[in-house]
């Protein structure tokens, strides 16, 4: 066992940067912005995370993966605490995370300004095609393959793609 007095927050954050979202494995949990705090004391290491969506089935897995990643480095006293408030937003996703998403073929989220509108039949946001970079795209469905994504199609290159929707 590693003595917790010798490990730093930066070291723990470095380990957490290796833990990926099981649904979108190019994104680390740091990229996603779900790690809210790391507390280190003499007898425990506490990681505070917040869920993306309330029903996201990846959260349990992420919790195990965090504990495993720390355990592999001899940190045996790690615990994961989930908080709900303040609620996660895609604005917390890092710039690197957004670039990785695009390279992976998923359009990254736009800033959230318009997301909570209750207006019906509003024009879909301008979403850039991750394949050909055209903005000439149409929304096929507001709900996609996972809770965090919606379905789009590019009118220029004709490719369908996922959009990591604003939240």
């Amino acid at each position: 066992m590693v003595s917790t007095s010798t490990i730093s927050k930066e070291y723990v954050y470095g380990l957490l940067a290796e833990v990926v979202d099981p649904e979108v494995p190019v994104l680390s949990i740091i990229d996603l912005g779900i790690v809210r705090e790391v507390f280190i004391s003499d007898d425990k290491t506490e990681i505070v995370i917040t869920p993306t969506y309330s029903g996201c089935p990846a959260m349990q897995r992420i919790e195990w993966d965090i504990k495993t990643a720390l355990l592999e480095k001899g940190i045996t006293n790690a615990s994961v605490k989930t908080i709900l408030s303040p609620a996660w937003t895609t604005d917390w996703m890092t710039k690197e995370g957004k670039e990785k998403l695009k390279a992976y073929g998923i359009a990254p989220p736009n800033p959230t300004a318009s997301v909570c509108s209750t207006d019906l039949f509003a024009a879909a946001e301008a979403v850039q095609c991750p394949h050909c970079s055209s903005y000439h795209t149409i929304r096929v469905s507001e709900f996609g393959s996972t809770a965090c994504k919606s379905l789009f199609k590019c009118s220029d290159c004709q490719e369908p793609f996922d959009y990591f929707k604003c939240h």
């Binding site: 869920p51 969506y53 309330s54 609620a87 207006d119 019906l120 709900f143």
Partner: protein, 277 residues
């Protein structure tokens, strides 16, 4: 005088305010779980792939909300009964025991959510009634003096905004659609309308003298009614003139449909208690 909470084979008097908070939390959780379970019946059977995915996503969000609420209810029950019960013989409650081991009469969901899924028109109209209710409810619950309920409401509010918008668009698209889609939507409205009043009629656990924790349903009734009327009118649908409203779910008196959905949902845990995979 505290009422009795009966959960599984456990019946213990708990002090009145805790009792009310537990019942309120269970009521919110039961609404979300039962509608989530109903909507999940569409998974693999939706009218088109994209909408199959949409209703399944909504089901997942609702079950996620239910889990957070049941976890909180379990914590409250365990704390309240800690002095009264020997946990070595009576295992603590969890989200799973609350979902899988309570009987129909212990479920406090509104009747609307347990009705059969019907055709797509019934499903989207029911979702619209319910999501509009949740939208205004969570908007207020975000300010609850109970920090956990407030946090759950804040988390869920954004998801529910999507649900309300999606279902309202479908109500309009089908109501103001073809002759057949209009007729089916009007039939759905005639069938469901009598089950909407219960959403906004306070149960015993929703009346609170100082009104700090639970949402006063009278405060959201006008907003709910305005939104519903606006969308139904755009959808060219007529609200039935019959004013009779069904009730009973909040007291545990349910339609016959709840028993069937619980049988299906609870079968595995009732048959093989505590089975895991």
């Amino acid at each position: 005088m505290a009422t009795e909470i009966s959960i599984g084979n456990l019946t213990q008097p708990i002090n009145e305010s805790t009792d009310q908070l537990i019942l309120y939390t269970l009521h919110l959780a039961d609404n979300a779980l039962i509608l989530g379970q109903r909507n999940a019946e569409w998974t693999g059977h939706g009218p088109v792939l994209e909408q199959d995915i949409a209703i399944s996503n909504i089901a997942l969000d609702l079950i996620g909300q239910a889990r957070m609420l049941y976890q909180y209810a379990a914590t409250l029950i365990n704390q309240a009964t800690n002095q009264l019960i020997n946990h070595s013989t009576n295992p603590a409650h969890t989200e799973d025991t609350l979902a899988f081991f309570r009987t129909g009469a212990e479920y406090k969901n509104c009747l609307l959510v347990e009705l059969p899924r019907g055709d797509w028109g019934v499903t989207v109209l029911r979702q619209f009634f319910f999501s509009t209710y949740q939208y205004f409810l969570y908007h207020e619950l975000k300010n609850s003096a109970d920090e956990t309920l407030a946090a759950i409401a804040e988390k869920s509010f954004k998801e529910v905004t999507y649900h309300m918008r999606w279902s309202a668009e479908w109500v309009i698209r089908l109501g103001d659609g073809t002759e057949e889609s209009h007729d089916r939507m009007q039939k759905a409205l005639d069938q469901l309308w009598a089950y909407t009043g219960e959403l906004l009629t306070p149960g015993d656990f929703e009346t609170e003298p100082d009104g700090k924790i639970v949402v006063d349903l009278r405060s959201i009734k006008v907003a709910w009614t305005n939104k519903i009327q606006e969308v139904l009118s755009t959808a060219t649908l007529q609200i039935p003139e019959n004013k009779w409203q069904q009730s009973g779910g909040k007291q545990g008196r349910h339609t016959e449909h709840l028993g069937y959905i619980l049988s299906e949902m609870q079968y595995l845990q009732r048959t093989y208690p505590n089975a895991q995979w």
